[in-house]
């Protein structure tokens, strides 16, 4: 019996439904061997009758297992060739099978991220000290991730060579982060913040926080126009930046960030919800206010490098 002998369009609809079942099962991380099998009664509900199944069986398109369940012979290359109009569906199936292990890992990371973030939310809501330390660590993380962009002329006139600037400016991160965090949080030393996080097992070690001498700090401040940056960033901006960076930092530390972008978007949403809950302000409003501050720094005060120092973590 050939496909040409029967109502092709109608049968194609049934095949599409059967392929969709496999795709949905694989998407739900079912093992390929288990994906797609359905009993006749389940298939009836989806509009596939026993007669349809007989036709498809006669055509060799579907297989039946010992449990009297049916599915398309999706692994069979000959069937794939015959069903070439469903190329995209086969590509989808291959995608989920080839990436199953990574998808599982990322899915586990996503679940882990969700759990960690819930814990951050409850601690931040209950423990003021935790929130202060989290903000301080987050700001440190942001400055530590920055390349400290600056105008070459300013770097040179402050007496730095470009090479020195690259090395020394980064070492100012502990000093600057504490200065910024103190505007909104009760924190004396960054070490206290890291030690606290260690005791509650959020982090495993304290990074190198060697402080720079005051002479170099003041020169760097001058180049970056740090005082102006501190002045323009308001309390909400600082809390928002600190918390965002802290959450991502903890997720990184705990291997809870997915490797691929589609699940990263979900983590980004989890993080946004977390920030909104803790700060009790809509995420979009926090982001818009931060943008306004950056625009003010860059356009009104001509600090064109501001968004290279003050920025949100790249989760995507």
């Amino acid at each position: 019996m050939n496909l040409e002998d029967i109502n092709k369009e109608e049968l194609n609809q049934k095949i599409e439904i059967l392929l969709r079942i496999i795709i949905n099962d694989l998407k739900d991380l079912k093992e390929p061997g288990e994906a797609g099998w359905r009993k006749l009664s389940d298939l009836n509900e989806l509009g596939i009758s026993g007669k349809d199944l007989t036709k498809l069986q006669n055509l060799g398109i579907i297989e039946k297992n010992l449990m009297n369940e049916f599915r398309i012979r999706y692994k069979d290359n000959k069937i794939r060739q015959r069903l070439s109009t469903f190329n995209i569906q086969f590509q989808q199936i291959d995608y989920f099978i080839e990436n199953l292990e990574m998808l599982k890992q990322d899915f586990e990371r996503l679940q882990k991220a969700d759990k960690i973030v819930q814990e951050i939310v409850s601690r931040a809501q209950e423990d003021k000290k935790f929130l202060s330390f989290a903000i301080a660590i987050g700001i440190w993380r942001m400055l530590n991730s920055s390349d400290m962009p600056a105008v070459v002329d300013n770097v040179l006139s402050a007496g730095f060579s470009p090479k020195d600037w690259g090395i020394i400016s980064l070492r100012s991160a502990p000093y600057f982060s504490l200065e910024l965090a103190k505007k909104v949080a009760e924190v004396e030393k960054l070490e206290d913040a890291f030690n606290y996080m260690k005791t509650i097992r959020f982090t495993s070690e304290t990074p190198n926080l060697d402080k720079l001498d005051i002479y170099n700090v003041s020169r760097i401040k001058e180049v970056l126009r740090w005082q102006k940056i501190c002045e323009i960033l308001n309390e909400e901006n600082i809390k928002f930046l600190g918390l965002s960076w802290f959450v991502v930092f903890i997720l990184e530390e705990n291997d809870a960030l997915p490797s691929y972008i589609d699940l990263s978007a979900k983590v980004a949403n989890i993080i946004k919800e977390c920030i909104t809950k803790i700060l009790r302000v809509e995420y979009s409003s926090l982001a818009n206010n931060l943008t306004d501050s950056l625009v003010e720094l860059e356009e009104k005060h001509d600090i064109s490098w501001a968004s290279g120092i003050i920025f949100l973590p790249e989760v995507l």
Binding site: I23, N24, K27, I88, Q91, Q92, Y95, F96, E98, N99, E101, M102, L103, Q105, D106, P149, V151, E252, L257, P258, S259, Y260, I261, D262, S264, A265, A268, N269, K272, Y283, S284, A287, N288, L290, T291, L294, V295, E298, S304, W305, S307, G308, F311, L312, P313, E314, V315, L316
Partner: protein
């Protein structure tokens, strides 16, 4: 349809000092990009397609299958149609006998033409069967090819650009820059043609977004002032022209569409935000608005399971770190393109000729002679030897920087104050007018186009590197690139030799 995005309050054009190169190029450009029609079409398809285009330098969202093959075949189709039409117009080829014998003689012509372009017989036969053959049969059947005479005014591959293309918005208009290339303008039949190898026999609508593409090109040409058009085109009302999307099997006439206007405002908002917005959440918004997912793919998109949803590998283990490190680089590379290339387009279209000459952005010439693919030009008000170092440039032998034939050229030799340039492409595809109008009275501008494609290549190479991988440890150990990535971005120590 584009994912809606609130229209921008205004497009960010470069300030005067920026336009006149008085601002040192660094960091985030103080102006928005100068988009291409392809950018807008990608934005209309999906914000993620636009993101790949701008951030990863991968613009082929609507090309399905092997990119190189599709592009080569598409180019051959375009070039042959131009060659055939011009050969008929110039009297180099005559349609004789009945339809079948005409088809046969055109097929024979196609065979020689494709062989001269380096195609093999088997592929030539495929291309004839799938694209050229059906097109030729249709065009003989409807008498279109027979109607071409020596007076026909047909032009191919005309570049159009305007820094201020107006699009209605509420009770006013919003201006945006836009540039693109029109496949064919037929002044005699008063129509603009967008030709494609996409589309099948059974189709009853143009290939996805081809209607939007031709509409945008039409908008550009309609927005140009008379003095920006080639001399001979002045007075022509392009608003009345018919827009046709031509596939091998069908001609689709496209009408003005209000939805396209809304789509365009949203597309420009996406382009602006992805490129230069200070908003920290814009990339999240792009992915939140993705138009498909692995379980629910967009059937027209060429990124599927390649650029979007690529194969996921277990190794290198440090992929999140790689991604986070690479991520800021992509946008910096885009900014470099904007400083180098997009600004150049703004300058060409917003500064007057005197300023362009002073800034050394263009050189004016008179055409001395044209022979085969070589053009000899006499440099005006500048010494030919000052062009040394400019081995490659762009020549507009016909038309203006706003609307004309733009050709890539290579400097072959200099003679006194004359230069000889080798033009790229196939000369027969240039309209007869383009060559005939090259009288010594018409100055042709030469421009040195900045090579922004290099940054695009770096972007796409970075993206490929970001996704490289191996599924098992053994294979990962054998691939030095994966080991190197682990060493640079992961925790593995970098070692020399076998230890």
């Amino acid at each position: 349809m584009t994912v809606e995005r609130h229209p921008l309050p205004r497009w960010r054009y470069p300030r005067n000092e920026v336009l006149r190169n008085q601002v040192f190029p660094s960091g985030r450009p103080p102006f928005a990009p100068f988009p291409t029609v392809t950018n807008l079409v990608n934005a209309n398809l999906c914000p993620v397609a636009l993101y790949h285009d701008l951030i990863h330098g991968i613009e082929n969202a609507l090309v399905r299958g092997d990119l190189r093959t599709v592009k080569r075949r598409g180019e051959l189709f375009h070039n042959f149609v131009a060659y055939l039409k011009l050969s008929i117009k110039n009297g180099d080829f005559e349609l004789r006998g009945n339809t079948q014998s005409q088809v046969n003689s055109i097929q024979n012509m196609f065979l020689h033409f494709s062989q001269s372009q380096g195609f093999r017989i088997s592929e030539i036969n495929d291309i004839w069967r799938l694209y050229v053959g059906p097109w030729v049969e249709r065009k003989l059947e409807n008498g279109e090819l027979q109607s071409i005479t020596s007076n026909s005014q047909i032009f191919f591959e005309i570049s159009v650009a305007n820094s201020h293309v107006p699009f209605p918005l509420e009770s006013g208009v919003r201006n945006y820059p836009l540039r693109g290339r029109i496949d064919e303008i037929d002044l005699t039949q008063r129509r603009i043609i967008e030709r494609t190898i996409r589309g099948g026999r059974e189709d009853n609508a143009p290939p996805f977004l081809k209607d939007y593409q031709i509409w945008l090109l039409w908008k550009i040409i309609c927005s140009l002032r008379e003095e920006n058009l080639p001399n001979e085109w002045r007075g022509i009302r392009f608003e009345d022209f018919e827009l046709v999307v031509e596939t091998p099997y069908h001609d689709f006439v496209i009408f003005d569409n209000q939805n396209f206007i809304n789509d365009t405002h949203s597309a420009y908002a996406w382009i602006n935000d992805i490129s230069i917005s200070e908003s920290p959440g814009v990339f999240s918004e792009v992915f939140e608005n993705a138009q498909c997912a692995p379980e629910n793919p967009h059937t027209e998109c060429g990124h599927l399971f390649i650029t979007c949803f690529p194969r996921r590998y277990l190794f290198p283990r440090c992929r999140p770190e790689i991604r986070q490190t690479f991520q800021p680089w992509y946008r910096l590379l885009l900014w470099e393109q904007m400083w180098k290339g997009h600004l150049w387009h703004y300058q060409l279209l917003m500064l007057d000729k005197k300023e362009l000459l002073e800034l050394g952005l263009i050189v004016e010439t008179n055409v001395v002679s044209v022979q085969n693919n070589q053009i000899e030009l006499e440099i005006i008000e500048r010494e030919a030897n000052t062009l040394r170092g400019y081995e490659y440039c762009t020549v507009i032998p016909y038309g203006t920087v706003f609307c004309g034939l733009k050709l890539d050229a290579r400097l072959v030799s200099t003679r006194n104050n004359n230069i000889v340039l080798q033009l790229s492409g196939i000369l027969p595809t240039i309209s007869e007018e383009a060559i005939l109008l090259l009288s010594p009275d018409i100055p042709a501008p030469i421009m040195k186009e900045p090579p922004i494609f290099l940054e695009q290549q770096i972007q796409s190479a970075l993206f490929r590197l970001q996704h490289i991988g191996a599924q098992n440890e053994e294979r990962a150990r054998r691939r030095s690139i994966i080991q190197l990535l682990e060493s640079i971005f992961g925790t593995r120590p970098l070692r020399r030799g076998r230890r």
